[in-house]
Symmetry: C2
């Protein structure tokens, strides 16, 4: 949700702040329109209307509708990845960091439902080259989970027979699926969801020794306070 480097320079100096604000607003509105109508059905005219701009003025920022989807998806991907990378590099052993990554990713996703849905539904509308540029050869999100799982195996916290790539895909599936059913103000808070999902994921891969050291988790209906690690 920021102006990509290069564009400001390309367009020359002056009134930089308003243009950056305008850019953020454009990305925000494009995300909403792609979510509500779907990328195929959405038009640049819809987006211009929502911004109170002439359609022609959009070409000051982008060259095509696909450019806009690219910028939307790149922004979502970078934000989400920065979030889990910082948690993965944080305090604690591999299992504790895996737990923080799972909870933090679910909380981030629940705060960004629209963006997440556009990212997961419309990525394939980009050209294969642009998809590859954003996601990378080895999917960047998966790499964060695989690295933690491998670190946990080296530390004897994760069972040797667990295939780290499959385990990463299993955990990523469960956490990425949340946007499909989570409702703000619904039965569970993002933190409660994160706590139980992390608990299941850790127990699913842990060695008996690591399992014995995991804190028991109270029942959800007993939890007056979010459970701390």
């Amino acid at each position: 949700m920021r102006q990509p480097p290069g564009r400001a320079q390309r367009r020359g100096g002056g009134e930089r702040k308003p243009r950056e604000e305008r850019w953020s607003e454009l990305i925000e509105v494009a995300t909403d329109v792609f979510y509500a109508k779907g990328y195929d059905a959405a038009s640049l005219q819809d987006i211009a209307d929502r911004l109170g701009m002439l359609k022609g003025s959009l070409y000051y920022y982008i060259q095509s509708k696909e450019d806009l989807l690219y910028d939307v998806i790149k922004a979502v991907h970078e934000e989400g990845l920065a979030n889990i990378e910082s948690l993965a590099a944080g305090e604690g052993d591999a299992l504790e960091r895996l737990r923080n990554v799972i909870i933090g990713h679910i909380e981030h996703e629940c705060r960004n439902l629209t963006k997440t849905a556009v990212f997961l539904h419309e990525l394939q509308a980009l050209s294969p080259e642009r998809q590859a540029e954003i996601i990378g050869d080895e999917h960047a999100y998966r790499r964060v989970f695989v690295d933690l799982l491998e670190a946990g195996q080296q530390a004897g916290q994760i069972r040797a027979e667990v295939n780290p790539k499959l385990a990463a895909l299993s955990i990523l599936g469960s956490v990425n699926w949340v946007y499909r059913w989570f409702r703000t103000g619904g039965e569970f808070t993002p933190h409660q969801i994160g706590e139980q999902f992390a608990d299941q994921a850790l127990r699913g891969v842990a060695t008996p020794e690591a399992l014995a050291r995991l804190q028991p988790r109270p029942r959800l209906d007993d939890a007056r306070e979010p459970v701390k690690l």
Copy 2:
């Protein structure tokens, strides 16, 4: 993938077999076209072209493009649900049946990648009424998992603090995500994926007593034969 009851009667008797075959072919081709172009971008003309039919002849079977999506999605949903319901009602205790459901669902999904993708991507293109009619008030797939988890809790195989609904959603997410990354002939067979996913899911919710009775799973690269339960 069968002619819905009512249509044959409505249209009158005679040459029933060819019409049923034609209907199956129509559903098959519509699934492929919705997958390749996306529902919004796909047209009845595309589907008629692929079938070598005049577009007008399609109106013998359906009234609109949404009718066709409804029939496609209903068929996918019913097939997948029948598969896991029969496994959930099969042999074994709750944990064994949960394991069979997870493995069987992943194998079914990997055999039906295109159908699964259309179901998961395009369900929201149906009217809310039609979505509700197909999926049910309480999502039918989730209900199968919740029932098994609750049975496992009553039998003391699943930890009391596990919320069955969240656990079902976590497991469903991991298994439903597979169609996004699985490639036929790729690194893992559907059975290998199912084995590890089931192992992680069961360990994630099992009581210590049930955990002690789970068979250890060999490493993937040691597994010459699919591991039997």
